[in-house]
């Protein structure tokens, strides 16, 4: 608590100690204090009832505990008068439940973030549209995503976080998925990996995810468990959170192995050492706890765990964002080397285009839940088709060449609850014209790449007509 940034900020601002305690710490702790108060109160009631039950209270007083006491003493149960015991028992249980509910209420009142999160799942389309054509999957592709849409429930109705996204991934290919935060890139890969569990409350509303020809969307949890981790694995954003801090690396690897295979102890140990060596961590660290490893090593350990079964697909969600430049660079080189060595395919999510520049085969640029551009990395960097991609590229100050003033991309991404009527990038786009705000652009094929922009949709026929008009 003492290390919270906002407390430090208050100290830096020059606040007195008393002010920091009363005005900065207490308000954030209200729910905690109330919770422990209610907990103590409930405990006291139970304790009093318990004492009276064993006859330590005043037998002349009237309370639940003494009622239970008399019930037991008079052999009420044997005499078929169970209600003597049931009524006070039920009362104690109800009181407990009431306190717990009160606790939640205080929690919601005292924390502004919780206050607004009254989820209403109404409106999320339950019926899955059957419009997806049943095209047989190409055996060269390990993953085919077709028309995938994912929605979250919110108090104002459904938020479509992934809107009709389609792409193919060939075996052994490295695909980068780039976009700003909240553009839906993480939701997309979580949907592919079928990890949109309860806390996220996202739902696949449409589309198919064909992994090795099987539709992941319709698989049951049991079927999923068979292929998850063995055939595909996931490396999460923050190794700090994804690794269990109270278990050693070895124990966590063992858990993964036991859950997904029938390896025995020795084989597991051996395999764990092997994968650690693969990511150039000395196997002596196998029995270390996560906090004993440096940030870079933790990320490597995560990747090692993902490699346990040599899967054919690894999904990585910003695995390097907690590292600094030097660490990022060496981790990327390592991932690429492992990929060349083991031949798995990679879906790599990042907000930093420059990171995947030299490592990915193709790039998928997402903007506001949609695919903005999809193309080969080299070509996309050389000649970005979408103004958003162009803006992302222009957002990096360069270390070489003349120093120029950059503008980045002014404004912020649209509210997905109420996306703009036309092109979603139109409000921030430097090349916006009338059609952009009126019509929704579709994905167009330009030089073998896909782009969602009217700049590349020059209607051919009207141009000819115009020329004729001039002539």
């Amino acid at each position: 608590m003492r290390r919270r940034d906002f407390l430090e900020a208050a100290v830096v601002r020059g606040e007195r100690k008393r002010y920091v305690i009363v005005h900065e710490i207490l308000p954030t702790m209200t729910s905690l204090i109330l919770a422990s108060f209610l907990g103590a109160a409930l405990y006291a009631v139970l304790f009093a009832a318990g004492l009276q039950f064993i006859g330590l209270g005043d037998p002349n007083s009237q309370s639940w505990g003494t009622m239970l006491y008399w019930a037991e003493n008079n052999e009420a149960l044997g005499a078929g008068m169970a209600y003597w015991a049931i009524m006070p028992g039920v009362c104690v249980a109800l009181l407990g439940a009431a306190f717990a509910l009160l606790n939640y209420a205080f929690d919601e009142i005292s924390s502004p973030a919780l206050r607004l999160r009254k989820l209403e799942r109404a409106g999320v389309d339950a019926e899955r549209a059957t419009a997806v054509p049943a095209v047989s999957p190409d055996p060269k592709n390990i993953l085919e995503v077709r028309g995938l849409s994912v929605a979250y429930a919110s108090e104002h109705g459904p938020v479509v976080a992934v809107d009709d996204v389609s792409f193919d991934l060939r075996r052994g290919e490295f695909l980068g998925i780039v976009g700003e935060s909240a553009c839906g890139k993480s939701t997309l890969v979580y949907a592919i990996a079928r990890l949109l569990g309860a806390p996220l409350a996202g739902e696949i509303t449409d589309g198919q995810v064909l992994f090795k020809g099987r539709d992941m969307v319709t698989l049951s949890d049991r079927q999923l468990r068979h292929i998850r981790w063995r055939d595909y694995s996931v490396v999460m954003q923050s190794a700090m959170n994804a690794l269990n801090p109270v278990l050693t690396v070895a124990a966590q690897m063992r858990d993964a192995c036991e859950a997904h295979s029938t390896m025995n102890k020795r084989q597991i140990e051996e395999r764990s050492r092997e994968v650690l060596r693969l990511v150039s961590i000395d196997p002596v660290h196998l029995h270390s706890y996560p906090h004993q490893l440096s940030g870079g090593m933790r990320q490597r350990a995560m990747i090692a765990m993902a490699l346990l079964f040599t899967p054919e697909l690894i999904i990585m969600d910003e695995p390097t964002s907690a590292l600094d430049v030097v660490g990022q660079r060496s981790l990327m080189v390592q991932i690429k080397e492992l990929q060349e060595q083991l031949g798995f395919a990679v879906v790599f999510v990042t907000h930093d285009m420059s990171l995947v520049r030299h490592f990915s085969d193709r790039l998928l640029v997402m903007y506001a839940a949609q695919v903005a551009e999809l193309g080969r990395t080299a070509q996309l960097f050389r000649k970005p088709l979408h103004p958003y991609t162009d803006g992302l590229l222009e957002a990096f100050p360069s270390i070489h060449g003349p120093k120029e003033h950059l503008l980045g991309i002014p404004g912020s991404p649209p509210d997905l609850l109420r996306p703009p009527a036309g092109c979603r990038f139109a409000p921030r786009c430097p090349h916006v014209f009338a059609r952009c705000t009126a019509e929704r652009p579709r994905l167009l094929e330009v030089d073998g790449e896909l782009v969602r922009c009217f700049l590349h949709d020059q209607p051919v026929v009207p141009v000819v007509e115009a020329k004729e008009g001039v002539a």
């Binding site: 919270r4 940034d5 906002f6 430090e8 900020a9 208050a10 100290v11 830096v12 601002r13 020059g14 606040e15 007195r16 308000p27 954030t28 924390s111 502004p112 973030a113 607004l116 700003e180 935060s181 909240a182 440096s294 940030g295 870079g296 600094d324 430049v325 030097v326 660490g327 990022q328 660079r329 060496s330 080189v333 390592q334 690429k336 907000h351 930093d352 285009m353 420059s354 520049r357 030299h358 490592f359 960097f381 803006g391 992302l392 590229l393 957002a395 990096f396 100050p397 360069s398 270390i399 070489h400 060449g401 120093k403 003033h405 950059l406 503008l407 980045g408 991309i409 002014p410 912020s412």
Partner: protein, 326 residues
């Protein structure tokens, strides 16, 4: 040369590490001396664990220095005793934190830290004009319309907007120096430039100085006039930004530069895949702290700690091997 805005002399901070009663000391910052001029943006560059944030917290008086001094406008900061003096310093030197998600108290509206800054440091602002002043500050950092933004809670804003709140809170006390600890590293790429431009703008318009702490060398080049390179608690190189980053002298600076991804550079994986990490400097012995990762290390590096030496105009480097330009 006239007295700079802020000057440190032999700034040192050690932390006790290990078990209770342990005598081991982590040398987070060791003997660091630098200056920040008026209206100057100085970048402090280094990897995580190099002591950058410790320096920020020393300047902001969150930590006390183990040894060495900070002079602000010629006055020794450690001699500030009275509440009024310390409040004065807190008003002159503000800080922007790295993590825009944890640096704003979630229990209050976002105007709270700005308002407190005004209450504490600008007594001349009358109570009824305070709200007006808060909105003006929000406008300065580009949070518009200020009236609508002002009523929000932190969780209702995006990361970029929150970081702007962080800058607004720092600006509220009309400081002369803002210590910005990795203000953009947690923001989206498309928003980063906006925050960097905001820093340049504030310098132009309000004459503010910045200590911009970062591991992103390219952004340091973009905004800073001067660059300080920190490695394992030691200042290893300093000089004008363009000079240091185009002609790095210290092998560590060269390593940092080689790791920078440049989207416009030619394709090809660079050969140097360095897996080293900055050492945790616990009870160090003499010698260069970079020697184990250094491709040019010589015998002298093992035994003698290199001191910063002048190798050009306003250009210093702490390396036995580095040569000045001919």
């Amino acid at each position: 040369m006239s007295e700079p805005l802020l000057r440190t002399e032999g700034l040192t901070r050690h932390f006790r590490v290990g078990k209770l009663f342990s005598r081991q000391r982590l040398h987070a910052v060791d003997d660091v001396s630098f200056e920040i001029g008026r209206g100057e943006i100085v970048a402090l560059v280094g990897e995580s664990g190099s002591g950058k944030s410790t320096i920020a917290r020393l300047l902001a008086r969150v930590y006390k220095a183990t040894a060495g001094d900070i002079y602000f406008e010629g006055k020794r900061v450690s001699t500030l005793r009275t509440r009024r003096q310390r409040l004065g310093y807190a008003g002159d030197v503000a800080m922007v934190f790295q993590d825009p998600y944890s640096s704003i108290n979630p229990a209050y509206r976002i105007t709270h830290p700005i308002e407190r800054g005004i209450v504490l440091h600008r007594r001349d602002v009358a109570r009824r004009r305070r709200e007006n002043e808060v909105e003006k500050t929000l406008g300065t950092v580009g949070l518009v319309p200020a009236g609508r933004v002002a009523g929000k809670f932190p969780h209702e804003l995006s990361g970029g907007q929150r970081q702007r709140v962080g800058f607004a809170a720092a600006l509220a006390g009309k400081p002369k120096l803002i210590v910005a600890d990795e203000p953009v590293s947690m923001l989206d790429v498309s928003i980063r430039i906006g925050v960097l431009n905001l820093m340049s703008e504030l310098r132009e318009r309000e004459g503010l100085s910045f200590l911009y702490i970062t591991h992103d060398v390219a952004s340091a080049r973009y905004v800073a006039d001067r660059v300080l390179v920190l490695y394992a608690g030691h200042l290893v190189e300093e000089g004008p930004a363009e000079d240091v980053l185009q002609r790095p002298k210290h092998p560590y600076t060269q390593l940092l530069l080689s790791a920078v991804p440049d989207p416009r550079a030619a394709l090809g994986i660079s050969d140097a895949a360095d897996v080293g990490e900055p050492p945790k400097v616990i009870d160090p012995k003499e010698g260069c702290r970079f020697r184990d990762r250094c491709p040019f290390a010589i015998a002298e590096c093992e035994t003698v700690t290199p001191q910063l030496r002048e190798i050009g105009p306003r250009r210093r480097v702490a390396c036995h091997v580095a040569e000045p330009d001919v």
